[in-house]
Structures are given as structure tokens and as C-alpha cells.
Amino acid sequence: MQLARRQDRPLALDYIKHTFPDFAELHGDRLRGDDPAIVGGMATLDGRTIMIVGQQKGHDLKERQLRNFGMPRPEGYRKAQRLVLLAQKFQMPVLTLVDTPGAFPGVDAEEAGQAGAISRTLQVFAGLTVPTVAVVIGEGGSGGALALALCDRVYMLENAIYSVSSPEACSAILWRDAAQAPQAAEALRLTALDLYRLGVIDVVIPEPRKGAHKHHRATAKVVARQVEAGLREIEAISPDERLRARRRKFLAMGMLAPADAGF
């Protein structure tokens, strides 16, 4: 868990820098602002344009403050919606890079409709017919992370974490004591391997020796290869079938009933 949150771990913009020399960043939600906690834009991968949307935490205090520690506001989620709808319009596959402690818990964010911004982002991703791949590169915290991860394929780096709530919040709620976070982290089963076993993610991407933070470029390369392979796989399926398969996948989450029960 400490590894997943390291400041020197490669962040969304590091993956973009090492993999996409022609990345063209796009800004703004066209409603009220531009959220620096979510970055997005177009770039070429494997000969075609893709849309990339990622959460950016920041490496040093100055950038972390600018990026609000990777905690998006509604503007960020609405920017993400705008960009993936643009991708849909021009038939670009979508790559998301998930790395956030969670959506920003603030007065302004609530008043601007944080919950609705997340639910509508989920709705937009659910309805895309272009291929979508999510990679949890660091911390996948709660609904704020899921908003970018309702995708055809969900990959996770070996040392990344992904959970229903941060261990600190979970500990505060269930133990009424934030100090039980390590125990909560254990109970929540939030490692890549746990999530693979639970059927929530498709692939665990191995990190270089001693962790991704030691080898940004090499990690970016492994992630890029995996994304390329995943996109080729999904692009071979027709758009209709892609949408159906994505629906089946998420309707089956929870292991209670056959994937297409009732539908």
C-alpha cells in the first residue's frame, strides 16, 4: 500500500510522456472550469489515435497542491465525459489511467454535484461503443476511481491498490478509529492479486524489480505493450458485441447470478 502511494511512482503524465510523444492535451469541461486533477488528450498508439484520460496526483508538494492531490472535482469528471464522447464521435479507443485517493470531499464539489458527476461519467462509459481500457497505475480510491474504470478491460499494476474506500476511511467507519487502517487494508483485499482473484480486474501487470518507482520508462513500456494487446483484442469484436460484453461483465459483478440473468 505504501508503494502504491509513493510520490516518486510514475504518474499518469509520466506514462504519457514516455509512451506518447505526440500527446495533445485538451482542457476544460465547457461548463465551468478545467480540473488539473484530471488530464486528458489525444495521442497515437500503434498507428491510430486514442483518447487518454488520467488522474494526476503530482510528484512534489507544489504540483500536488496544483493537482489537488489527484482528487477530481465535478469539472474533472465532466471533462472526462466530454473527452470520451469526443472519442466516441471519431471512433477512437479510450485509455484511462486511474490514480486517485478519491473524488474531492469539499463544499464546492458537493454543491456542484459531485455524486451526479460521477454517476453520469459511469453512464457515459457504460454506453460507449469504442474499445475502452483502464489501467489502475497507483491508487484506485472509491467511486472517484471507478468513474474512469467502467471499461472493457481493467488492468492493474502489481503494486497498485483499488478499493471501495480508502483504508483510513474504512477504519474510521467500521472501527471508529482511523489508526486501524493497516487492519482495514488487510480486510478490504485491495491488492492487484486480490482483485484478480475476485474477478474484478483482467490482468495484473508486473512491475520491474523493486517497483515501478525505480524504473519509470520500463514500467511505461510494459503498460503500453499490455494496452496495445488489449486494444487489439477488443477491436476484433464488433461494436454491438463489445457493448453487450461490457454490460455482461459488470452485471455479473458480485458472483450471485449468471451474467445475463434477467436480461
Binding site: 463544499v107 454535484g113 451526479g116 471501495v164 458480485g254
Partner: protein, 332 residues
């Protein structure tokens, strides 16, 4: 300054010790006016003096909304399990058993088909007493099966929420229920079936950030707490005291996040009326607007042609584009 403090203390003097509504006794826990259990029940668990809306359990809510004798449960046989072998200060299975004993329910949401003021609907009702109304795998699955029933029967969906959010004890699988419910609603929308959500106190976290805020019309009971993040966490993060109405229905309405705040005594009629209006649209005979090969968005094209086309459209089926009701106009 001193005086202000004194005044505040005096004004708080008559405050009775706070307690859950079950231990209400003869007084309203909000305004402290005397109220008997019979009076409260007659007023649908709303204080007749101050209008405070006390929480309803799922059975009471169903009884208030469904026409008598029409409720038929859907997916009620689904039972929760413990996929993570979760253990905090207590085992999850023990918490589940206790919640079951306390509420008589097997999960935090009741789902079924019924009639509401004569209209057939698929109705989901959450119960906050069951582990804080939290959404785990069974709540997600019941919701999805309720949507499937709505589609099968061709009826609208009405869901009354009361939830602290995703259920911690099922970890990531609870988070995935947010995705699952959104996907199910996508399919409801494909069938053009209306969805009305009724947000009650409290509706927060993963439930508010998934199906609850994707309704075609969002209603809320007065004073309901509607927030993605709970007030305590927001206070810790921002280190400022929040105003008492922060995140409440009335404030959500003012910020454009919901459609209406509805008194409980009006709720059933309000839902029925909205459903009638939402469903009334399918009988309209508008032709879908198809792209016209003669009108192209080419620069420098004759403006007159575009204007003529716009007028033509306004006189046929698209009068509302210009803010006039087609029925008010001369049919020529």
C-alpha cells in the same frame, strides 16, 4: 461576544437528549412538542408540529406507496454472503445476522412489482436500519433484477433510497455494484421506461453517485442529507464548520441537483402524476427528424433557404423549437 454565547446557550436550554425515533416517547425529538405514536402514525411519521420527517423502514414505505394488496416481491430470495471473509471489530456474518434479527429483512433493499395510485410500477425501497442501507452485492443484484422486471413488464421504475453508500464489508465488490446498477439503467433507458428516484434521509456515497442520481426525475423528502462525502469527512478536510443545512434537500434543490422537494403526505400523488406525464409522451406523433440532404451546414450557403426551412419545420412538427405550442397554432 460574551452575550452572544449566553444567548446561544439559553436557546439550547430546552433541548431534550437526542435519541433514535424508536425511543421517541411522547415528544418530537426535533421540536420537542408532545406527539403521540398514533398522531405520528396518522401523519405518516412526520411531526405534525414541526414537519420533521422521521425515517421509515422499508415495509412502512411500501405500505405508504403501494396500493393495498398489489405488492409482489422480486428477487427477494437472494441472500447476502461473505465473499471476503470480512472481519473488523466483528465478523461480517454476525453483523448480517444481527441486522436480519433487528429488521426481519434479508438485505437493505426490498424490490417488487405493485400498483401505485393505480399505475403499475417496479418499486425498490431501501431500509437504512439494515447496515446503514449500504449497497453490497445483493442490493446491486436486486436492483438489476428489478430493472429487468420493469423491462419485462414494460413498467416504470421508482426507487426510494436511504443509504450510507457502498458496503465496506464486501470491499471492491460493493464498489462494482455502482457500475452494475448504472449498466442496468442504461438498458432501462433503451426501452424508454421512466425512472423516478425519491431520495430520503440520508442518501450518500456510492448510492448517490450511481443509480440515485441517474433518474429522469429526482425527488427528495424535506431535510434529507444528500452528499457524496459525509459532513464529518468534509469538515475534517476543509477544517471549517459547515452550515446546518449543508447538503440537505433544500440546499441541493437550490444548487440545481434535484427536481423537487416533496412532503411525504404528497409523495404518492406526486410520483403518480410525474409518471403519468412521463409516460404520456410516448403517444405523441412527432416524426423523428431526419437529416435533410438539401440542408447542408456549408459556409456561405443561402441564409434565406435555412430560414425558410426553419419556418417549415416550425409549422410541421417542431413548433416547440420556437417556444410555441403546436396545438395553439393555425394548422395551415
Amino acid at each position: 461576544m460574551n452575550e452572544q454565547v449566553t444567548v446561544q446557550i439559553t436557546s439550547k436550554e430546552p433541548a431534550a437528549p437526542e435519541g433514535p425515533p424508536e425511543t421517541l416517547g411522547p415528544r418530537c425529538s426535533e421540536c420537542h412538542a408532545p406527539v403521540t405514536a398514533q398522531q405520528l402514525e396518522a401523519a405518516l411519521s412526520v411531526c405534525p408540529h414541526c414537519g420533521h420527517h422521521f425515517p421509515l423502514n422499508a415495509a412502512e414505505r411500501v405500505a405508504q406507496l403501494a396500493d393495498p394488496g398489489t405488492w409482489r416481491e422480486v428477487a427477494g430470495d437472494l441472500q447476502p454472503s461473505d465473499p471476503l471473509d470480512f472481519y473488523d471489530s466483528r465478523a461480517y456474518v454476525d453483523r448480517l445476522a444481527e441486522a436480519h434479527l433487528e429488521t426481519g429483512l434479508s438485505e437493505a433493499m426490498l424490490t417488487g412489482l405493485c400498483r401505485l395510485a393505480g399505475r403499475r410500477v417496479a418499486l425498490g425501497v431501501m431500509d437504512f436500519r439494515f447496515l446503514g442501507g449500504s449497497m453490497g452485492s445483493v442490493v446491486g443484484e436486486r436492483f438489476s433484477q428489478l430493472v429487468a422486471s420493469a423491462i419485462d413488464e414494460g413498467v416504470p421504475l421508482v426507487v426510494v433510497t436511504a443509504s450510507g453508500g457502498a458496503r465496506m464489508q464486501e470491499g471492491i465488490l460493493s464498489l462494482m455494484q455502482m457500475a452494475k446498477t448504472v449498466v442496468a439503467l442504461d438498458m432501462l433507458a433503451e426501452h424508454s421506461l421512466p425512472f423516478i428516484s425519491v431520495l430520503t434521509d440520508p442518501t450518500t456515497g456510492g448510492v448517490l453517485a450511481s443509480f440515485a442520481t441517474l433518474a429522469d426525475v429526482m425527488l427528495a423528502e424535506p431535510g434529507a442529507l444528500l452528499l457524496f462525502t459525509g459532513p464529518r469527512v468534509i469538515e475534517q478536510t476543509t477544517r471549517e464548520k459547515l452550515p446546518p443545512d449543508f447538503g440537505r434537500s433544500e440546499s441541493s434543490l437550490a444548487h440545481g441537483q434535484i427536481d423537487l422537494v416533496v412532503q411525504r403526505r404528497d409523495l404518492k400523488q406526486q410520483v403518480a402524476q410525474l409518471l403519468a406525464l412521463l409516460e404520456g409522451g410516448v403517444r405523441c406523433d412527432f416524426e423523428p427528424v431526419r437529416p435533410d440532404p438539401e440542408v447542408v451546414p456549408r459556409g456561405g450557403g443561402p441564409l434565406a433557404q435555412a430560414v425558410a426551412r426553419a419556418k417549415e419545420l416550425s409549422l410541421s412538427s417542431r413548433g416547440w423549437l420556437f417556444g410555441t405550442d403546436p396545438q395553439d397554432r393555425d394548422p395551415t
